[in-house]
């Protein structure tokens, strides 16, 4: 196969956002309704492979405003799987 036309699809990783909420806020969590570019209404999640895009994840509701350090982000399964 010519490398020019080869498409590469890699099921890569899971971005795990851990919401370290207080117990009393836990029941207020709902779901993820949309992932989109920050500040836009366009729910298109295709981006530059260099990253850097600001993504807004909607639908994660809290009963009250938690402090900033209650949301932790980490990349899970950090081993690169190789090409499929």
């Amino acid at each position: 196969m010519s490398k020019r036309n080869k498409r590469v699809g890699v099921p890569l990783k899971r971005l795990l956002l851990t919401l370290a909420t207080y117990a009393e806020l836990g029941s207020a969590l709902s779901n993820i309704s949309k992932t989109r570019y920050l500040g836009t209404s366009k729910a298109s999640n295709t981006m530059s492979i260099l990253g850097g895009a600001s993504i807004s994840i909607d639908g994660v509701g809290f009963a009250e405003m938690p402090s900033d350090n209650l949301i932790n982000f980490k990349i899970e399964d950090s081993d690169f799987d190789g090409f499929s």
């Binding site: 036309n5 993820i32 981006m47 492979i49 260099l50 850097g52 895009a53 993504i55 639908g59």
Partner: protein
């Protein structure tokens, strides 16, 4: 998570913000490495999961696309040249950029890109192009701008350019 993500998050309104890392951070391989392997499209897929740390429950995705993020080479803007390539603070320059498919992601009323930063300052295109300025898909086109009045650069200091889809590859 970076500092601005905290400011951009509105947890009361049901929104959290996150700046997505690039494949170099995720895989340990540079973009040049992938380009050397493949001339065509390069795609990666990432699944976003949100876990309530109190009870370990995962938040439900309301649709299959709500929690997917796709990295695509065809959506990666590329900077080919800066004309003139020797400039000084306040000078007008043309950034020669192929926006690739990123143009599809720009809202009608939004500027053509998020920002171009040279040295320590963002450039200013006031009076040089309209906010609605758009260029052709997959075509290298000029994006004129003035460098900042206080811009300090050293030799070979490439600009940082961010479109809505993310960072621009500097060729």
């Amino acid at each position: 998570m970076i500092e601005s993500d905290n400011g951009d998050s509105n947890t009361l309104g049901g929104t959290i913000a996150y700046t997505i890392p690039g494949i170099q951070e995720l895989t340990g391989e540079t973009i040049d490495h992938f380009e050397s392997l493949f001339d065509g499209d390069i795609q990666f897929r990432m699944q976003v999961s949100v876990e309530n740390n109190d009870n370990g429950n995962m938040l439900e995705c309301t649709s299959s696309t709500a929690c997917d993020i796709v990295y695509r080479y065809l959506y990666t803007p590329q900077l080919f040249d800066v004309i003139p390539n020797h400039a000084w603070a306040g000078a007008k320059v043309n950034f020669m950029i192929n926006p690739a498919a990123s143009r599809n992601q720009i809202e009608a009323d939004d500027p053509p890109y998020e920002y171009i930063k040279v040295g320590n300052e963002k450039v200013d295109y006031t009076g040089l192009m309209e906010t609605t300025y758009r260029t052709g898909h997959y075509r290298v086109s000029p994006y004129p701008a003035y460098l900042g009045a206080e811009t300090k650069v050293s030799l070979n200091s490439p600009p940082t350019i961010e479109f809505y889809v993310g960072l621009t590859k500097v060729r």
